[in-house]
């Protein structure tokens, strides 16, 4: 009798877990299956759940008949550039905020976090004018420029949190031996922080890749658009090409999936640093 109850309990436990995971990834699975369904079977009600005719035609269409590849290229360029820019400036900044002492250091640190909280919608209007006056409107440079608005505070905050977990002892030993402080930092601490820096960089890449608002507002030429904006164009332009839209979506989340495989550990650690530990 006890054994049966125990088994039932175990079943319920797994059922609940499947429920949670299913809620999270179910919709993505539906997108995946829809992306390879033949059109006649796609527009069926009741919808065919399994055992449908498959095709890669939708994928072929978006790659050959639309600017999809161009958009992917644009997104990649922007995201890589923003990340390079953000990481390089943020590492120096974090180094300064953690290893040096000066007045207002604490205020600056808090300020960086506050800046990350600024809603992009607020910056949209003035950035529009700034971009236009710098002749960066409708260029990828303009996007790289504006994406740093959220990427830099984020990177500073993350890198600062990580750096605070590394004691300065080894750096100080190197300085005594004749190294410069920056040199010691770069040669000793950075290698230790490499996984954390990589995670922050990947996260920054993802933030830029996924970004929609600025990319929508600061680029108007179709071929210059980034992937999210391009996919959104599909929605507006086609009312019935759902197969194609779904396949665009599947490709669009690949960076997110790839990165989350690497980032899972760091997301928990990085975000909970200071926010949860008590």
């Amino acid at each position: 009798m006890m054994k049966a109850k125990k088994r039932l309990l175990k079943f319920v436990r797994y059922f609940l877990v499947v429920g949670v995971v299913g809620t999270a990834i179910g919709p993505f699975l539906w997108m995946l299956t829809s992306s390879i369904k033949v059109n006649q079977q796609l527009f069926l009600f009741p919808p065919k759940l399994i055992l449908f005719q498959a095709t890669l035609g939708h994928y072929k269409y978006i790659f050959t008949q639309t600017d999809f590849l161009g958009w992917m290229f644009n997104s990649t360029i922007v995201a890589l550039s923003v990340t390079a820019l953000a990481i390089s400036t943020s590492i120096l900044c974090a180094f300064s905020l953690v290893r040096y002492k000066y007045r207002g250091r604490e205020f600056l640190s808090m300020f960086m976090l506050l800046l990350y909280m600024v809603p992009p919608v607020m910056l949209l209007i003035p950035l529009f004018f700034i971009i236009k006056s710098l002749h960066l409107f409708d260029t990828l440079y303009g996007l790289i420029f504006t994406h740093s608005a959220f990427s830099i505070p984020f990177c500073i905050w993350m890198l600062r949190s990580y750096l605070m977990t590394v004691p300065p002892d080894m750096e100080e030993a190197a300085v005594i031996d004749g190294c410069t402080r920056l040199g010691a930092f770069m040669r000793i601490t950075l290698p230790i922080l490499a996984p954390a820096v990589t995670a922050t960089a990947l996260f920054s890449f993802l933030l830029s890749w996924n970004e929609y608002l600025f990319s929508l507002s600061f680029v108007t030429t179709d071929s210059m658009k980034t992937l999210p904006v391009g996919i959104a164009l599909f929605i507006g332009r086609w009312s019935v090409r759902w197969g194609e839209i779904m396949s665009a979506g599947v490709i669009g989340i690949i960076p997110a999936i790839v990165l989350f495989l690497f980032l899972e550990k760091y997301i928990v650690r990085g975000l909970t640093a200071g926010a949860v530990k008590g």
């Binding site: 919709p27 919808p47 900044c93 300064s96 809603p119 910056l123 929609y212 839209i245 669009g252 008590g278």
Partner: protein, 295 residues
């Protein structure tokens, strides 16, 4: 005798410069600019601006549309945050079970909705909630909850409900993850002692779990409230504030005012007011996080 004064600059400050320069251009100056703009009448494409004092604010605070936008924003935020919290708590409790194998895989998979681009979230749910071919309507009909399916985006209240559900789906992984981390920080001995004393699972939850999670819950609620209140993408992609203005939250209001109404001054004023609302939440969040850090 000449006194040569040595100026000692803390070199640490120099390292701040690259980041600070960029931040000043893309964040600080725009913040200053949007504040100034809200006190002017400015057309989006015509050069020059006309000082307007408090005219924009006055117009907004007496505008039925803007006040409705404010109410809808508060409503949308409140319900979304509430639902995300409940879902997140449930998710965290379920995924925290030590008896389950593959917990880390489950935890990783659950994160997906939060990591995807907002556009993808939009297209997935547009398709799922499609009134003719959508899977959701199919399930609802199968469960006899409706006879012919719901036209999700055809009507204001349903559209808002859809948006709240979609956003909560997007946010709950973050909640789950954070609460899970918090749960794992609660020492098992507390539960052991409670069980020995005869406490039921519900009592353990109320008297051990919740108090220990209070800080975490407060912090993430602040964050999510800020993100939700100012969010633009999902609403714009799915309804553009429609039907009519039934889902026009403040961010959409400002966007439309600026790019369609060409009224940059009014849009700036609206953004500023929105910022002031969440500033309170931001400050609370910052103080919470920083006090913890000092300990």
């Amino acid at each position: 005798m000449n006194k040569v004064k040595k100026i000692r600059i803390n070199v640490g400050l120099l390292y701040l410069l690259p980041a600070l320069v960029l931040i000043t251009i893309v964040l600080l100056y725009p913040l200053y600019s949007v504040t100034i703009l809200s006190f002017y009448h400015k057309h989006l494409f015509r050069p020059g601006k006309l000082f307007a004092g408090l005219a924009n604010f006055q117009a907004l605070l007496t505008s039925r549309d803007w006040l409705y936008s404010l109410r809808i924003s508060i409503f949308w935020t409140g319900l979304s945050v509430g639902l995300s919290l409940v879902m997140g708590m449930a998710g965290a409790l379920i995924l925290n079970q030590r008896e389950i194998r593959g917990r880390s895989v489950a935890r990783a998979l659950t994160l997906l909705p939060w990591l995807t681009p907002t556009v993808i979230t939009a297209i997935i749910w547009m398709w799922l909630l499609n009134d003719m071919y959508g899977l959701v309507n199919f399930i609802l009909i199968k469960l006899h909850l409706t006879t012919s399916g719901i036209a999700w985006f055809g009507e204001g209240s349903k559209a808002l409900l859809a948006l709240i559900l979609i956003w909560s789906w997007r946010m709950f992984p973050f909640m789950t993850l954070m609460l899970l981390a918090g749960l794992q920080g609660i020492p098992a001995q507390l539960y052991e002692a409670a069980r020995v004393d005869g406490a039921s699972s519900l009592e353990q939850f109320i008297y051990i779990t919740l108090p220990n999670l209070k800080f975490t819950m407060l912090v993430i609620t602040m964050l999510i409230t800020i993100w939700t209140f100012t969010h633009f993408d999902i609403i714009w992609l799915l309804t553009k504030g429609g039907p009519g203005i039934s889902t026009e939250v403040l961010s959409v209001y400002a966007y439309k005012a600026n790019f369609f109404g060409m009224d940059t001054g009014k849009a700036s004023a609206s953004s500023l007011l929105m910022f002031l609302v969440i500033l309170a939440f931001s400050i609370i969040y910052l103080r919470l996080v920083f006090v913890r850090e000092k300990r």
